[in-house]
């Protein structure tokens, strides 16, 4: 029965036209994600109407290839430009960019590509083996557990602060503050908008991300221009890929690889969390358990592996509640479900029973997509690296234009562009003052989720002790407390060690 369904699904995926469409989808996903400001979600929305005229499994397979390609593409601009191509590659910039700047752009890309590949494969394995029980756990979690999880996630700020804990915390608080602007997440009542039509819809997360990372990074490039260190191009042109030796290198970090992938799977399986948190959490876990945490942020392979395996694994993770229960784990999964629904397939707890060939076909499509992504990336890496040959005066304006278009395309709102400009200036100012930017972005992501769930919890039950009496919630809060204690201790230790030599290295 299971084998039949598997073969039936595989048979459909391995049809020639499906494979061709998937290849195109994979390339499209990688390109869309590589351009800062363009997201995977946008690429998938563009694919949606095309899939109306395909068969259900064919349509979903093409969308999955875009999805998997997209989770990898983000690393290209993260490594080569220091700008996350998608929200899920923020942590990739921390180590891949210093590594590329340090003369190993080929290695940084290869590391990311292989980690993404293994991350996707591991998540698909978990998806196949454990989808139903994991989905059941995910759906039982109430607002109390979500709130406690976010409290825990907020404590990872300490891993992202760079040189100064104080400046990191301030950046995190600024992020939380920015997230409160606009309609409140429960009632839609305007807050801190000052009757301005620009602020009324709130600050979209993607606009903040592009403004904070891309605009400030690009302005920094312009400022550095002519200082002579890297002549015209962003990165000295030492092109070495060492594809296979890098694969071995990734496999030499099995603990990190598997741990980061599992973090990605679990975060992906929680509806509403997703890739933008998973890469940071995986990075944080890798840094904490590393014997050499001080190497993080300076181009350590561990950092790249954690971030890329973590974000790619959310693709399989997000499918867990969708395939097992018909509950989308992310915006992308919601669009996948819509595509199936239009074909008359009811996505729900009975999908695996009623449409087994479809469910197993999706597993096959995940694996095929990740192989395609790998082949496309390895073959075209030389092409990506040509980006580094392009003189700055061409690449900076081009990327800037892409950012502006991407920010506009998100909600088709002109006012978002004014916000983008303003936030870019703020980001540039903070960066110049040596404030780390990642905690700010983390605050913007987590703030609204925390608020929504806190209010939802208290609306469900006015008793606040429930946070401590529900076991999973209590465990998460305890983990948050431990995390804070651990961070404070390691900061104190580092301070003692670092006293003699002040380190000028940039935090991100």
């Amino acid at each position: 029965m299971m084998l039949d369904a598997f073969l039936a699904g595989a048979h459909q995926v391995f049809a020639f036209d499906t494979l061709i469409y998937m290849l195109i989808g994979s390339i499209a996903g990688i390109i869309a994600a590589a351009i800062p400001g363009f997201t995977v979600t946008m690429a998938i929305i563009l694919t949606l109407p095309l899939t109306f005229s395909m068969g259900p499994l064919q349509g979903v397979s093409v969308m999955l290839s875009v999805y998997v390609g997209g989770y990898t593409g983000g690393l290209i601009s993260a490594a080569l430009l220091g700008i996350p191509g998608t929200p899920s590659s923020v942590a990739t910039t921390f180590d891949a960019y210093p590594m590329a700047r340090g003369g190993e752009p080929g290695r940084a890309l290869s590391l990311g590509v292989w980690s993404s590949f293994f991350g996707t494969v591991i998540s698909t394995i978990v998806l196949i083996l454990a989808a139903p029980p994991l989905a059941m756990i995910a759906v039982k979690l109430g607002p109390w557990e979500y709130f406690s999880l976010i409290v825990f996630a907020l404590t990872i700020v300490a891993s992202l602060v760079g040189n100064s804990l104080m400046r990191g915390l301030i950046a995190g608080v600024i992020g939380l503050g920015l997230a409160t602007i606009g309609p409140d997440p429960m009632m839609g009542q305007p807050r801190l908008t000052f009757e301005s039509s620009i602020l009324l819809p709130g600050l979209p997360f993607l606009v903040v991300l592009i403004g904070i990372f891309a605009i400030s990074q690009l302005m920094g490039e312009v400022e550095d221009h002519g200082k002579g260190n890297s002549s015209d191009a962003l990165i000295p042109d030492v092109i070495e890929f060492k594809t296979w030796s890098v694969m071995r290198e990734v496999l030499m970090h099995p603990v990190n690889l598997v741990r980061s992938s599992l973090v990605g799977v679990f975060i992906g399986a929680l509806p509403g969390a997703g890739g933008s948190i998973a890469n940071l959490l995986a990075y944080d876990q890798a840094k904490r358990s590393s014997k050499n945490p001080e190497e993080f942020g300076k181009g350590t392979p561990d950092g790249v592996i954690a971030s890329e395996a973590g974000n790619s694994a959310t693709a399989g993770g997000g499918l867990i509640p969708m395939i097992a229960l018909g509950i989308p784990g992310s915006a992308v999964d919601a669009i996948l479900m819509a595509a199936l629904m239009v074909h008359g397939i009811s996505v729900g707890p009975r999908l695996i029973m009623d449409n087994a060939d479809l469910a197993y076909g999706m597993f096959v499509a995940m694996v095929v997509s990740s192989l395609m992504m790998l082949v496309v990336c390895v073959l075209s890496m030389r092409l990506f690296l040509r980006v580094t040959d392009i003189p700055k005066q061409f690449i900076v304006p081009t990327v800037m234009i892409c950012c502006v278009i991407g920010a506009f395309a998100l909600n088709n709102r002109v006012t978002d562009l004014y916000l983008l400009g303003a936030i870019g200036l703020v980001g540039y100012g903070l960066k110049s003052l040596d404030y780390p930017l990642a905690p700010l972005v983390l605050g913007v992501i987590l703030g609204p989720i925390a608020e929504t769930n806190l209010r939802r919890a208290l609306m469900s039950d006015g008793d606040w002790t429930v946070f401590f009496t529900r076991p999973i919630s209590a465990v998460l809060l305890a983990a948050a407390l431990l995390s804070v204690i651990f961070s404070v201790r390691s900061v104190l230790k580092m301070r003692k060690k670092d006293r003699p030599a002040t380190d000028e290295q940039d935090g991100d």
Binding site: P49, L141, M186, G188, A338, H343, R456, M459
Partner: protein, 314 residues
């Protein structure tokens, strides 16, 4: 020269094709502003409508998602567009609640209703629990335990409106918990984190089949074709009408010929077999109200919403 011949031929063809063919509308692509994000109910249904419109008119109908503040950001932008028929948009009951709660000054009166194209019947959905398994038991339990029943709604949105109507009709008191969309609410009900929610066939029926959720009543006049075993609210003694109805609108000031032409095109589009099938799959009942009928429907809805809107401000 060739262009002139082409134009002449085109005019001739139009003349032969029939009189009063509301000029050449549409002769270029029509932009469709969907004031909600991608992947939701409005987005999915309107993409199907756009597909049908393209089939009928031969013009592309690109969807532009402009989400924000309960659908009002996109509509505010839409209201500013030229009234030439080349930008269309969509409204549903959410505009009424947003307007009456003071979130937007726009109301349905700011637009010209062209046609009602979808109607998704709304169901009262119970989470599987030990205390009640149908409407009667829910009423008894809620009467005995005021405020104990947790109702999942989108605060200030259409489900809130429907839930308030039920609360009023049953004469009981629920406590409300806010969620962003139907998917989130259904998930909370499946997980047992709320007790009752408003849902539709598309999002809830699979869970009902699986035994996680129970349909306690539907807000239509007659039982629906998809769920013939679910009693209507009216059958159970509560004359409530609960549906999310979506219609296509044009900016105020659009010439009558264009409104008519679009109405005709939409009616054709919505009767195409593949479009009808896709709409049904996406959870909409078969319905079509043209310009006049839709206008009358919206006016009637306005007075109905007025009756319960006070309950939303609590």
């Amino acid at each position: 020269m060739f262009r002139k011949i082409a134009v002449a031929a085109g005019l001739l063809a139009a003349a032969i094709a029939g009189p009063a063919q509301a000029q050449d509308y549409p002769e270029k692509p029509i932009e469709f502003i969907v004031p909600w994000g991608p992947g939701g109910g409005s987005d999915t249904l309107m993409r199907i409508v756009a597909m049908g419109l393209t089939e009928v008119t031969g013009q592309p109908v690109p969807i532009v998602n402009m989400p924000g503040v309960g659908g009002t950001v996109g509509l505010a932008e839409f209201a500013k567009r030229p009234a030439d028929g080349y930008t269309i948009s969509q409204i549903h009951e959410g505009l009424y609640t947003a307007n009456k709660l003071g979130i937007t000054e726009l109301s349905y009166k700011n637009f010209i209703p062209v046609a009602l194209v979808t109607s998704s019947p709304q169901y009262l959905v119970l989470s599987k629990n030990d205390n009640f398994s149908n409407l009667e038991e829910l009423k008894a339990y809620a009467e005995a335990n005021p405020g104990a029943v947790r109702a999942g709604v989108t605060l200030g949105g259409v489900p809130h409106l429907h839930m308030a109507m039920i609360e009023e009709a049953l004469g009981v008191e629920f406590s409300y918990v806010g969620f962003r969309d139907t998917g989130e609410r259904i998930r909370a009900a499946v997980g047992g984190n709320v007790d009752i929610v408003i849902g539709d066939v598309a999002s809830a029926s699979e869970f009902v089949k699986n035994g996680d959720l129970i349909f306690a009543g539907v807000g239509t006049e007659e039982r629906t074709a998809e769920e013939p075993d679910v009693p209507t609210m009216a059958e159970q003694g509560y004359d409530l009408s609960m549906a999310v109805t979506r219609g296509v609108v044009l900016p105020a000031g659009t010439p009558d010929e264009i409104v008519e032409a679009l109405d005709t095109a939409l009616e054709k589009a919505m009767s195409l077999p593949d479009i009808r099938e896709k709409m049904t799959n996406a959870g909409s009942a078969e319905i079509y109200l043209g310009h006049e009928a839709y206008k009358a429907y919206l006016d009637k809805l306005d007075s109905e919403v007025d009756k319960v809107v006070g309950k939303l401000q609590g």
